[in-house]
Amino acid sequence: MAATMPRVTRWPAVRVFEHHVMVYRRTWRGSIVTSFLSPVLFLSAMGLGLGTLVDANNPGGIAGVTYLVFLAPGLLASSAMQTAAFESTYPIMSGMVWMKTYEAMVTSPIAPRSVVFGQLAWVATRLTIVASVFLGVMFAFGAATFPSALIAVPFAVLTGLAFAAPIQAFSATQKNDTNFNAIFRFGITPLFIFSGTFFPVTQLPIYLQPIAWLTPLYHGVALSRGAALGTLDLPTALIHIGVLIAFIAIGIAASLVTFRRRLVS
């Protein structure tokens, strides 16, 4: 067989990203419908339904706005978290154990490092789609102002990645999916409920508030809400962004180790 000039793949992480795109081309329709229905249902039930009760008891509104307007940007950040958590658990298990598609990648010139970055780039893309659809629904509900609220999309992506990077590092150490349930039950769901999405964190007992500050979702919700309500000032924003970036950086560093250990042994 005629040997061609061997070449080392130039942008290996981009090739990994392409793999995810190719798989998504087969499933995007269902995924988009879910991304659309989820905010519609939540904003209808919690924002309009529950919101009517809340607003009736708070003539001044919550943080000066109706419950719907208060809630919507928090839900946006939360849905980014949930999407990121899902994309960083079961698909990783599939790549490592079930279908071993990551194993197939590293037998080619692609290195584990590129699998990590390609995966994160893909999650960032998914988050952009989910957050954009969500924000579109918020505009339709009158829960955010166009175009100033658009900045909430990159904030939501950042929030999602702050979960995706550490969770995928953990997923790469797992032999099966039994611990993923625990992540959702004892990690994602409590954060969803307690990190300021449904009510301001200041409503929590004083000793619980510092715990909320330590979670990425608190900072994501603060950014998202600040963007949607136009109340964000730059120094506060930078602190929140800094915390999220720290989570992402630690998650990437851990992923580089765990993916390598798993794929190259």
Binding site: P12, E18, K100
Partner: protein, 312 residues
């Protein structure tokens, strides 16, 4: 310069792999020449897969020297892998993609353009006789078809060296023969094949040269014919006795063969002339239930070297 020796494609000296306390590969030496079909024959757990993974640059060695295509896997992993075709023991196909998409994306991993990817996929699907299934999802393929698709995928970068880890394990005889035929054609085209197997017939069919591995070491190497000549006789007489009789034969077969192996269900008499030995057994008044004369195989070599059968 027709007789100038060509450099080895794989060169290993004292190659060692340890996982914690366990030594999976214990200081083995071997060379693989361009164009040859080289086999690692041995039972499960002998260290074959660990060796293959080190050659494939997905498992750093714990000690010794290893050169693949003239490069060091520790430093040039991606450059080496760019020229390898790897058929892993377990399929790593993407079940969510179609047959041709699996080839396309793998081509992209090697930096081929989509146009090249499509063209080569078409040729390769014909080569492995899957052209009619190009648009089917992989999960609908039979085991043999998946294996053939994996072979096609491994050829997408026109590799200089193919690594096949247990290529036909789990396949039915028909699928296995079809696969052997394709591998034989690759060999004829000059592709260097390195394979592991615990099937002695596979090793005999495909390998120009092989090493027999057992318990992390190489216990013998040579061509299948050399190994048989060195470690076995030309023929084997297999005797099966009625239940309980085999244990009572103490000494009664002495002198009838160069060597006698006692398996739980039968006796193997190693002898240059099986028919003569069979006649001599009858002359001694013994009445085995069944008598079979056959040529020696690598199975006999393995039995001689390790005292065990390949598949237990």
């Amino acid at each position: 310069m027709p007789n100038e020796p060509r450099p080895a494609l794989i060169h290993a000296r004292a190659l060692t792999k340890r996982f914690g306390e366990m030594t999976a590969v214990d200081a083995i030496d071997f060379d693989v020449a361009p164009g040859e079909a080289f086999g690692f024959l041995g039972p499960n757990g002998a260290g074959k897969t660990s060796t293959m993974r080190m050659i494939g640059c997905v498992s750093p060695r714990s000690g010794g020297t290893l050169e693949v295509l003239g490069m060091d896997p520790d430093h040039d992993g991606p450059a080496i892998r760019a020229r390898l075709g790897v058929i892993p023991q377990q399929d790593t196909l993407d079940m969510e993609l179609t047959v041709q998409e699996n080839l396309w994306i793998y081509a992209r991993y090697f930096d081929l353009s989509y146009a090249e990817a499509r063209e080569r996929s078409k040729e390769l699907l014909e080569f492995v006789q899957l052209q009619d299934r190009a648009k089917d999802e992989v999960q609908n393929l039979s085991g043999g078809m998946k294996r053939r698709l994996t072979i096609a995928r491994g050829l997408i970068n026109e590799p200089d060296l193919m690594l096949l880890d247990e290529p036909t394990t789990g396949l039915d005889p028909q699928a296995r023969h079809l696969l052997w035929d394709r591998l034989y054609r690759l060999k004829q085209r000059g592709v260097t094949l390195v394979l592991t197997t615990h099937f002695m017939d596979e090793a005999e069919q495909l390998c120009d040269r092989l090493v027999v591995m057992d318990k992390a070491t190489i216990v013998a190497q040579g061509s299948p014919r050399q190994l048989i000549e060195r470690y076995a006789t030309r023929e084997v007489l297999e005797l099966r006795f009625p239940q309980g009789v085999q244990e009572t034969l103490n000494g009664k077969l002495d002198g009838l063969a160069d060597r006698i192996e006692h398996l739980p269900d039968r006796l193997l008499l190693y002898t240059p002339d099986g028919d003569a030995a069979a006649a001599a057994v009858h002359d001694r008044g013994l009445a085995p239930e069944s008598v079979l004369v056959r040529r020696s195989t690598l199975e006999d070599v393995f039995l001689r070297l390790t005292g065990r059968t390949l598949i237990e």
